[in-house]
Amino acid sequence: MNLAAPFAVDAVGLLVSAVCVLDPRSARRRLDLEAHARLDALRPPHGWVGERRPNGRIWYSLRRLDTDGFEQGGRSQFEPPPGVDPATIPLVDQGPGFPLAQRLEQTRQLVAVFRPGVLLHLGLIGRFGVAEDLGAARARLEQRLNGLEAIIADGYARAWRDRWLSAVSAGEPPEDPAAAGFALDADVSGLARLMQAAAPAAAMLPKMFAAHVEAFRMAAPADQLAILIMYLRKARVPDLPQRMAEHFMAEARTAWQAGLAAPDLAGLVRAMFAAAQSAELSRRIWQDIIGFAGDQAPPLWRKSANVAEEWVVRASGSVSNAFENLEARAWARHRHSVTRAEAAGGAARAQARVTELIEMHWFYPRAWATALAAAPPVEAVEEDVLGPAYAAEYLGMARYLA
């Protein structure tokens, strides 16, 4: 009998336990696994999905469906899942230069399995021209930001300024309006343009659609933005980040107010998309400078960050609602909620519900208040309420996605 063997096993077990206790990552991992096991029991996983990142690595995530069919995220990791043939895992390519049409097709196949309703969302992304090619947009963005970082390290914007000035003196238009704005570094709106160029669809898509299409997740721009803000705050103009945050806040406010004043849903969506981007930029800048200031941060900064976040949530929700309304589903639900409110509390309660949907959730432009309260037949929504142009777009997308 080998008496040492049981002790050896015990020793290994003890060591593993000790590592789990001493190493918080191990402990967290164990808790994660326990949580996943509980989740698996509640909602069995549906399958693994891979996402190729710009650096070539593949991020695997386990998808599951909620009881109402809504897709939920499960565990995720860089390591290929054990016991699964990687060749059988659907892969979404997020590398630079990947054509949008192929990406959409790839994602279409993917979401057809997991959440068919998302197909329309993908169509709308193309329809609004939010990003003509996400891979190319991100490649340009990374190129620009990487260059920018080097320039910052090399002594702020001298190189940009020289390039821009030489281009102007040579009678050539600046190759990039954002670079022109950045060269004139005292000009807040110029910096705003730079930020606008740096942040747009690439940064906001994940915020808006992360719950629906994780394939569009991208995180890098946030870090680059933080670097730029830190530099501006420390070295050049300490109050410039605050002014930029205020600038984007004002821009967001103008945009969402324009959205609510739009005559139709398409106008609302375009404005809200812009509002969400500006508000998100503002929120990030507020958060950064609050982080730098710590306890010295004025209360109004914290309130501003909070309100900017509210605007992001509302504007993003407005866009998502419009997506859902391509099938008029949200409209039908909202109309019924107004009808229910009227039955429960009369015209005043119904009016309060309409106000809630428009003024608080930004789901519809103000021009739709009457329609929301007037109970048009839901069947007629596409033609009579959404408008023939919008209905045509919907039908066009349906054909594309069919």
Partner: protein
């Protein structure tokens, strides 16, 4: 609040609703985020209108030598803890009712209206960016004068 029964109040509140939705986002505590109930928004409008009317009355009748009387103190406290602070005192309710009555007179005192608007802006500026606070106070005055000034006695 008894102020609820004032003539023209409902119309003024309805007119102010979009502004109040925005103001509510700034006034609510940071940890209570996203989508205040509509009743909260209406309540905020009522609070601001009450303070505006009471402040107007205080100034118009020179009960307070400079603005900063009961109405301003009450409003500042109310905005700091909007969900929990007590209802306005009977004095403020009475001042607001009298303020509404003065507003319906043929020639309401413009200096008193200015002072009340400025006080509302100052109280809101504790919570909103100053230019928005001023804009909000101006809208409040506009709605009060348009709907409550023109309302039948």
């Amino acid at each position: 609040m008894e102020t609820r029964n004032l003539p023209g109040l409902d119309a003024a509140l309805a007119d102010l609703q979009p502004d109040m939705v925005e103001a509510a986002m700034w006034v609510v505590p940071e940890n209570e985020r996203h989508f205040e109930p509509i009743s909260f928004v209406s309540g905020l409008g009522l609070v601001l209108l009450t303070a505006f009317l009471a402040g107007f009355q205080e100034e118009a009748s020179r009960h307070a030598r400079a603005f900063g009387g009961d109405a301003a103190t009450w409003l500042a406290g109310k905005l700091k803890s909007i969900a929990t602070i007590a209802e306005p005192s009977p004095q403020i309710e009475a001042a607001a009712r009298e303020g509404a009555s003065l507003l319906r007179s043929p020639d309401p005192d413009p200096a008193a209206l200015d002072a009340s608007e400025a006080a509302i802006a100052a109280a809101l500026a504790e919570h909103l960016p100053p230019d928005q606070a001023r804009g909000m106070a101006a809208r409040l005055r506009q709605a009060a004068v348009a709907h409550m000034g023109a309302a039948p006695a």
